[in-house]
């Protein structure tokens, strides 16, 4: 067993298990070993007991996962990055249960911004996470541990939550894929809330195909059949006989139409020339059915404002007792998110809720009738240094912090699906990511879009560089590249 090494993607691991090159118990043991390297990354909050591998014929047999510490797993309640274990959430997450039922094992819980209330991994209750791309680079939040763990090769995939960008921002800072599904597609039950009107369970993975397989196995079968019809049959037996066709299950339609939005209503958050050029080059590299449309997002300021109001008021409701308490049970950052909600007039909040469906329809009419996918920046100025976004740092720049979610929060308000993935590297080697937004329930299209780019530029090795290519300390060594059939 000591000669075995883990392949770079969950998909490749599944193929190896299906072909008998590795058994599920061997695979799980190696993945558990990979988690031993967390000491240098600070991604994990708790290691869970390694359960015996179950039925080897299940779709995700031998796949180990680690999730944001905001989900109830069995009887374990989430710590939420707090200084205490918060009450509530007695019901186990059905999304995790579905993944378990498909054969995966939850190996660890991962760090996050306190109560998911921050856009970086800053959390006074946890060690500062280290970005595997560059140790000086910030790690976005709130699903910071998930992004670090996936990028560092500690695990193949992780569930996170995204309220204003909390899956997409950390994914973009660490150069992995982040999927924000259509709002309410994945159940929020068993997930500690921040803003129930915006919270969305999402995924971080090393590969688009990995995300598709985790999503297909996270959903009730009838829903999975609708969302990802070509993937639901890829159980172990099918893989064994039909593995070479797996990549065809995420085939991209040839009639693809793209729009590109670069201008932000707040000039501070229009991307730099370098980032704008990278996105433009990326958009024009596709063999699309019509010229790429340059657009401005209609009413982007209003959408962002509505997202902020819902976030603040819902957070105030979630943490109402803590806001009234005289102790410090709520840290400065989540308190700063919740406090404005106690002051916002009720009619503003009601209006944001009541006009959401109308604004969504108007958005789709304006932008998603003549286009299938809208491309935008994620981090308009690239991945910042930690020093710029740590709130108590001498070099703290509020605009750098605000820039992190300037292109993401309004998408949660509309409830649209989006995927982010790396398309280039800047002069410091940090990832430049794109955000691709689609109509509701177009997860298959968005993942196919990411997958086509991934395979064209990285083969079947996923988006993440091999650990040896990472600029920080090169661990773990259990991952190596292989080619799929």
């Amino acid at each position: 067993m000591s000669d075995l090494t883990l392949p770079p993607t969950l998909t490749a691991l599944r193929l190896q298990c299906a072909n008998g090159e590795m058994t599920p118990p061997q695979a799980l043991a190696l993945q558990a070993e990979a988690l031993d390297h967390d000491a240098q990354w600070h991604a994990m909050t708790e290691r869970l007991p390694l359960e015996p591998a179950g039925d080897p014929t299940r779709p995700l047999a031998g796949v180990g996962l680690a999730h944001k510490d905001i989900f109830t797993i069995g009887d374990r309640r989430p710590r939420c990055g707090a200084s205490f274990t918060p009450a509530g959430q007695p019901t186990a997450s059905p999304v995790v249960q579905a993944l378990d039922h498909a054969g995966s094992s939850t190996l660890a819980m991962l760090g996050l911004a306190e109560f998911a209330g921050g856009v970086t991994g800053e959390n006074p209750n946890l060690p500062l996470p280290c970005n595997p791309c560059d140790s000086q680079a910030a790690v976005g939040g709130s699903s910071s541990g998930s992004a670090v763990a996936v990028a560092a090769g500690l695990c193949y995939g992780s569930l996170g939550t995204d309220t204003a960008g909390s899956v997409r921002i950390p994914a973009a800072t660490c150069g992995v894929l982040g999927l924000l599904p259509t709002r309410e597609l994945l159940s929020r039950t068993g997930c500690f809330p921040l803003s129930p009107n915006l919270d969305t369970v999402g995924l971080l993975t090393r590969s688009a195909m990995d995300a598709a397989q985790l999503l297909a196995n996270s959903l009730p079968p009838d829903v999975a059949q609708t969302v990802l019809p070509k993937l639901v049959r890829t159980d172990t037996a099918a893989l064994k006989t039909d593995g070479e066709r797996l990549h065809e299950s995420l085939a991209l339609p040839r009639s693809l139409r793209l729009s590109l939005a670069l201008d932000h209503p707040d000039a501070r958050f229009t991307p730099t020339a370098k980032h704008a050029q990278a996105l433009t080059d990326f958009a024009h590299s596709w063999p699309v059915a019509a010229p790429v449309r340059q657009i401005r997002i209609s009413r982007q300021s209003e959408l962002a404002r509505c997202a902020s109001i819902l976030l603040h008021v819902d957070a105030a409701t979630t943490h109402y007792d803590a806001l009234r308490a005289t102790d410090d049970s709520l840290g400065d950052i989540p308190r700063g998110v919740a406090l404005p909600g106690a002051a916002i007039p009720a009619p503003w909040y009601a209006q944001c809720l009541s006009q959401r469906a109308t604004l969504l329809q108007a958005f789709c009419d304006s932008h998603l009738t003549d286009s299938d996918i809208i491309l935008t920046p994620v981090l308009p100025h690239g991945v910042p240094d930690w020093d710029e976004v740590l709130t108590h740092s001498a070099g703290f720049k509020p605009s750098s912090l605000l820039g992190l979610f300037s292109w993401t929060a309004w998408v949660n308000y509309l409830g649209l699906p989006a995927v982010v993935f790396p398309i280039a590297r800047d002069e410091r080697g940090r990832p430049i990511c794109v955000q691709a937004i689609g109509r509701p329930h177009t997860e298959a299209l968005l993942l196919a879009f990411a997958y086509e780019y991934e395979v064209a530029h990285h083969g079947h090795c996923g988006f993440v560089p091999s650990p040896a290519a990472l600029s920080s300390a090169p661990l773990p060594s259990k991952f190596h590249h292989i080619a799929l059939p």
């Binding site: 009413r299 209003e302 404002r305 902020s308 806001l323 005289t326 007039p345 009720a346 209006q351």
Partner: protein
């Protein structure tokens, strides 16, 4: 614990000053200092419904 903060506060208008906001929050049992109240007032200005010209942003 109130789980319906918006209806319990039931304010219909933005506080007119930091001092007003300070008192309003205190009535809810949320105590902040005056510096925080001033910062919150800036947030209220930023989140206020748009003027007609801004609302028509395309």
């Amino acid at each position: 614990m109130s789980k319906d903060l918006t209806s319990s506060t039931a304010s219909t208008a933005r506080p007119s000053s930091a001092e007003h906001l300070l008192g309003w929050l205190a009535l809810q049992g949320v105590n902040v200092d005056i510096a925080s109240a001033h910062r919150l007032m800036k947030t209220m200005v930023r989140l206020a419904p748009a003027a007609p010209a801004q609302a028509s942003e395309q």
